[in-house]
Subunit: 313 residues, 2 copies
């Protein structure tokens, strides 16, 4: 546990006596070991056991029982509570893997974006690209993001970059899809672990979302799902839409789960919480779950041709 001695030092330096710990699902297994270490170091420890998917979901209630909250695995959002310590979680890969992207790139000047766990490799990635004649440009993201960093709900570091092509380095398909839809640019995605490279094509995604809006059109009632999580609150936006649509009912939920949507039994929902819920979890939901803009399209307030990826700002 020498890796956490430094954390214990910092906690002592700020005079913390009771410490709350919060982990995203993938790091939760570390809770027992870190909690035990801090307890043996003389701290009173309480772990937040609730699900957590981002810095938008700070364990306020758990912090209520402690002096400090240590939030693992995410970078701070906006203007964070000074009682929260953000502990990064770095995931390494060999930057040479970026050479795999070359055959797929068309420009010699590209925007470069990645996710929080790879940010420490940003300069190394640029160096590899420069050595083969590609200038990689980065800019600071929105929603508290660092240089070159995108979130699943915020693609600002791609939008304002001033290139015609973007290289996304990271896993999964959602982030590069979001970058493509947020910027309208050509986006190449590189998985730094498998080395796989692909150009993003949003067409299938857009067709699916279009079909979902049409399916929701016949619903006689819409549940507008509002979250209370620290960085996901779009209550006023939802309230405005509920006032404009007589068939819309506000629903407040902490965790938006398929089970509870089944229990509520609404024929369609609109998601004002984490944008990725509507996109990633649709297959698990019992009814269409639209984004706020998709609901606006359904209500005739805007056109599908102006489709935007849902982002939190």
């Amino acid at each position: 546990m020498t890796g956490y001695s430094d954390l214990a030092e910092r906690l002592r330096a700020r005079g913390a006596r009771a410490v709350a710990l919060q982990f995203p699902a993938g790091l939760k297994r570390k809770a027992g070991v870190i909690a035990q270490f801090l307890k043996e170091q003389g701290f009173e420890v309480i772990v937040s056991g609730d699900p957590c998917y981002g810095a938008c979901d700070l364990a306020r209630e758990t912090l209520g029982y402690a002096d400090v909250l240590v939030h693992f695995g995410h970078t701070p959002l906006g203007d964070p509570d000074p009682r929260v310590i953000f502990e990064p979680y770095r995931v390494d890969f060999d930057p040479e893997i970026l050479k795999n992207a070359i055959p797929c790139l068309k420009a010699t000047r590209v925007g470069l974006v990645t996710t929080a766990q790879h940010l420490h490799l940003l300069d190394a990635m640029k160096t590899v690209l420069a050595a083969i004649g590609v200038e990689a440009v980065t800019t600071r993201g929105t929603r508290g993001c660092g240089e070159g960093q995108v979130l699943g709900c915020s693609f600002g570091a791609a939008r304002v970059i001033g290139t015609e092509e973007i290289l996304y380095v990271g896993t999964g398909v959602f982030h590069p899809l979001g970058v493509q839809l947020a910027t309208g640019l050509r986006v190449v995605a590189l998985d730094p672990f498998t080395g796989e490279v692909q150009e993003v094509n949003a067409e299938k995604f857009l067709r699916r979302r279009h079909a979902l809006i049409e399916k929701a059109r016949s619903a006689d009632q819409f549940g507008l799902l509002v979250s209370t999580k620290t960085g996901q609150e779009r209550y006023e936006m939802a309230r405005g839409m509920a006032a404009r649509c007589s068939r819309a009912i506000l629903i407040l939920m902490r965790e938006i789960s398929p089970e509870e949507l089944v229990n509520l039994g609404f024929p369609a929902y609109v998601n004002f919480a984490c944008p990725r819920l509507a996109y990633d979890d649709q297959v698990r939901f019992p009814a269409p779950v639209l984004t706020p803009q998709e609901f606006s399209i359904l209500l005739g307030e805007c056109l599908f041709s102006d489709y935007r990826i849902d982002e939190l700002t």
Copy 2:
């Protein structure tokens, strides 16, 4: 929706403008219809979509967006918030069904207990029993319970009744088991829908709990699960036990779910939230989940021969 005109009247009478609604799982399907009715009556409406299993789990956060919370299906606990309206949910049956219990009763004077949804039939049940020579005795329960009412976490209406035999009228096996373990008396359970009658035998239950304590004994760490729900908070009790056991780590959770216990990966847990979680949901949990008293037995602070059913007071 004439059935809810009266509710709208009462809401207007207390000057409510924004109304929060909360339902247990079984009644959640009514949310859409009731919310729509109240919205058409001119109220701003917000539904709590989170899971709810009792009046111990008031939707405080949803109430934060409204003037009044209407909580359906449960009776108030203790000293309730004056901004909460409790709307009972009555479930009828034919009181004549109580005659089914006669062959199984040994005494001519029995204690009578039931659950919230059948309380309105208490006098009718007594009358049926009296007509066949059985005096049914009731007393007011603990934890805000009415005359003859037990909860899954509170059996006071059975404990102080002064008879040697108890008749439980209701569904399920947990409540009569709790009554038996809380009182040590002979308990007869009658399901008022199927008419089935049985004498409660807690032996198998106790054997299972004993085996679970033994299984947990080898754990190198215990997660002490604390809930933040309005009527389930036993933080100080958990904190005291965490201080007495170096292997115990406090974990705060809103919903104690099998998935999150898997993610946390502790080899054993102790449940300070709703007592029924440890009993009813053990089969769904990945590791032993003990009651606080069972953990005391494991720590050698008390004996299994003094086993008590876990209750909230």
